[in-house]
């Protein structure tokens, strides 16, 4: 048993941390140059990583940075679907291409199989919601149903759709996590077939994306707690550092315990990313449930302990808190994954 990072991952962590410490604005090219996108994919696909712990290292660092980088949505998630379909991801790794995945629908909530968008041959019609990084993408991977009812797993295909394809409408907006997403509407929009039966690949890619989101959240939690710890020692009220009041300090201990539990879950999920179902799914769901709970605790308590300043946009804590809480709305929330965990346990 060994909880140390390998030397390679340690190096990746160090160089990424150094880079992000000085970075601002659009860091996409910088990350690609640093080889960060390559770290998300295995060697046989042109990358040099792709294991659970590679993702954990990269996204935890990204989560520590006060930046909004859609690395999950414009690289990891589409890249995994591309590689599952046997497609080349070298342009993606080089940073020259951005793809986004348009899969979610309102009626699906967090269920991965619920697809109402229809494919008539290669013409797609339907509504996709909250496509993060959709505006920035050159091309979209769109899921659509060529057969079956919305509640089954079979019959879901994947298509590549150009950003300027006919019948495609895209309405962008800011998202609470930071960054942008879009509602995507397709009307007889032509696509290039990528996979005929895409459900298994979607599940696998989403598992990796969920791990990445969790690692990112863990990084953000670490920063939020460190800021709060610092604040409690420096901020004075009633002539004392507020951290000398047990009403705050004992609660911060509980918050820190929650973060250590979250850290353990990211490790556990990373260690099981390559496992077979239902083992993988059970670990991912367990982790997402726990991180959903601890994330809420961390965000709310850190804001509360800061008081008003914790609610202002200009002080970084609030941005971290938003990222932490909103992570619960991505790839299935606390309750969704509790149900998944129960269902997979009974399997």
């Amino acid at each position: 048993m060994n909880f140390e990072l390998t030397e390679e991952r340690q190096m990746l962590q160090d160089s990424l941390r150094r880079y992000l410490a000085g970075a601002s604005g659009d860091v996409w090219a910088g990350l690609a140059d640093l080889g960060v996108i390559g770290a998300l994919f295995p060697e046989e696909k042109g990358g040099y990583g792709g294991a659970g712990f590679d993702l954990a290292v990269v996204f935890e660092e990204l989560g520590r940075a006060d930046l909004d980088v859609p690395l999950i949505d414009n690289a990891l998630l589409p890249g995994l679907l591309m590689t599952a379909a046997g497609q080349d991801v070298e342009p993606l790794i080089a940073g020259g291409q951005k793809i986004a995945v348009a899969h979610g629908e309102t009626a699906a909530r967090y269920d991965l199989n619920w697809v109402e968008t229809r494919a008539d041959g290669d013409l797609l019609t339907g509504e996709k919601c909250v496509v993060v990084g959709g505006e920035a993408a050159d091309v979209l991977i769109v899921s659509a149903r060529h057969s079956g009812t919305a509640d089954v797993q079979d019959g879901i295909g994947l298509w590549l759709v150009e950003r300027d394809a006919p019948g495609l409408r895209l309405q962008g907006y800011e998202i609470a996590q930071g960054g942008r997403a879009a509602e995507v509407s397709l009307t007889d929009t032509p696509g290039t077939p990528l996979m005929t039966e895409g459900y298994a690949a979607i599940v696998q890619a989403m598992a990796a994306a969920t791990l990445a989101e969790m690692a990112q959240t863990l990084g953000a939690m670490d920063v939020a707690v460190a800021m709060t710890q610092e604040y409690l020692t420096t901020r004075k009220q009633f002539g004392r550092p507020i951290g000398s009041f047990q009403a705050l300090s004992h609660r911060l201990v509980d918050v820190m315990v929650a973060v250590e539990q979250a850290r353990s879950m990211v490790i556990l999920a990373a260690a099981h990313l390559e496992a077979e179902e239902p083992v993988r799914g059970r670990h991912i769901s367990a982790a997402k449930n726990l991180i959903g709970r601890s994330g809420r605790l961390v965000a709310e308590e850190c804001i509360q302990m800061h008081g008003g300043i914790g609610m202002t946009e200009e002080y970084a804590l609030g941005r971290y808190a938003k990222r932490i809480v909103m992570a619960d709305h991505r790839f299935g929330d606390t309750d969704h994954h509790l149900e998944q965990f129960i269902a997979l346990g009974a399997a």
């Binding site: 962008g172 800011e174 809420r296 509360q304 202002t312 946009e313």
Partner: protein, 398 residues
């Protein structure tokens, strides 16, 4: 024991409902329900509707133009307004300054300022908190030095809610720097147009602007704007804080919020079924609904004690703590209910985009969740409330 309202209470409730049905525009109620920010015009419009009916200053005595309602009437009124998604009455002039002036102000001050609050000529804001004096309010540093028939004010206030709309601010200022902490504080009315005042809006994490920083640099304030006696401001401030506690449990807001959560959860689907039928979500809703049933009764118990003339003591801390916990829990449920649709964060089109599609008719739920973190921070944080309660409890046990 009789938990029923009287026939008069029922008649009054019907009157309030009818008024709201007639006077509250659907578009304005929707803005409130969907947590879209209200403009100054929205607030002014609603105040004028209430004032026309004589229902604006519900807690003021009739001789000052108030409705002079009892606590049960106010409870009914506030509950119905919340359930109808009426805009909240901006409390600074009406609920805070008004009672202070009525109790401690001079006749001239009462005659001048009170009518202007009712008819909307003045928009008041509150200058209490300072960067170094949050929960420890009495640590405030803003100085007012007497110079002839003026005070010269220097310092900084913060968390000044809706200060960007205000033309007047009531401030706690330090007039005797050598006195002990709570002594040497005075209560001053300041015109925001006076030279030397600068207002800087603070953007909150919900993307909205509702609080401000206010800087004072050599601001000259006429001495007739001092309320009561010099160096006695802390007494008035404490009196004001007691009056601020009206409707502190926010039961009506919670009920309205819970209605909204249920409405969303009927519309939202999970596995092809309405989310409200999902046992885990249903359990969350049921639990907070039960907490709110209890809170509503707890509130009525305390309201009814107050109606019987007993001043609420630590009960108001209880109402603040539990009431805000429930309200925050409800904003959390709303956020959960919409699932991925909580992500869009610009539904009011702030950034120039068209309004974001809102298929669940939920409004800005994530923004509301973040915004309402304030409930446990302002007006005496819940930690301060627990400390007040705990101190009293330890005294009681002795």
């Amino acid at each position: 024991m009789d938990l029923n309202f009287t026939a008069e209470d029922h008649a009054f409730r019907a009157e309030v409902k009818a008024f709201l049905a007639e006077k509250l525009p659907a578009a304005l109620a929707d803005k409130v329900r969907l947590n879209q920010g209200l403009s100054k015009e929205d607030h002014d419009f609603w105040h004028s509707q209430l004032n026309a009916r004589g229902w604006l200053a519900t807690n003021w005595p009739k001789r000052f133009g108030g409705a002079e309602w009892g606590t049960v009437q106010r409870h009914i009124y506030e509950e119905e307004c919340a359930l109808a998604h009426a805009p909240r009455v901006v409390p600074f002039g009406l609920a805070m300054l008004g009672p202070v002036l009525q109790k401690f102000g001079s006749e001239a001050q009462q005659a001048h300022w009170l009518p202007r609050i009712l008819n909307g000529q003045d928009w008041w804001c509150q200058g209490y908190s300072e960067p170094g004096a949050g929960s420890d309010l009495a640590a405030l540093q803003t100085r007012a030095l007497r110079d002839g028939d003026h005070y010269v004010v220097n310092g900084q206030k913060t968390w000044t809610t809706l200060g960007q709309h205000a033309n007047m601010i009531f401030c706690l200022v330090r007039t005797d720097p050598d006195a002990k902490k709570q002594e040497g504080i005075s209560f001053l009315l300041i015109d925001m147009d006076t030279p030397g005042i600068e207002v800087r809006p603070i953007t909150l994490i919900d993307g909205g602007v509702e609080v401000n920083e206010v800087w004072f640099t050599d601001v000259r304030v006429p001495v007739e704007n001092l309320v009561g006696a010099e160096n006695k401001g802390w007494t008035y401030a404490k009196y004001l804080l007691t009056h601020e506690r009206t409707n502190i449990a926010g039961v009506g807001f919670s009920r309205a919020g819970l209605d909204t959560v249920k409405r969303i959860a009927i519309r939202a689907r999970s596995g092809g079924r309405p989310l409200i039928e999902n046992p885990h979500f249903a359990a969350r809703v049921a639990q907070v609904e039960i907490d709110l049933m209890a809170m509503s009764t707890t509130n009525l118990r305390i309201v009814s004690k107050a109606a019987a003339g007993q001043a609420p003591g630590i009960e108001s801390s209880l109402l603040k703590i539990k009431g805000t916990q429930i309200r925050q829990e409800i904003t959390d449920l709303a956020r959960r209910a919409v699932g991925p649709h909580a992500m869009p964060f610009a539904s009011d089109g702030v950034d120039g985009n068209a309004p974001v599609p809102d298929p669940l008719d939920a409004g800005a739920v994530a923004a509301s969740y973040f915004n309402n973190r304030k409930l446990s921070i302002f007006g005496g944080s819940n930690e301060i409330q627990r400390e007040i309660y705990a101190k009293q409890m330890m005294r009681d046990a002795k």
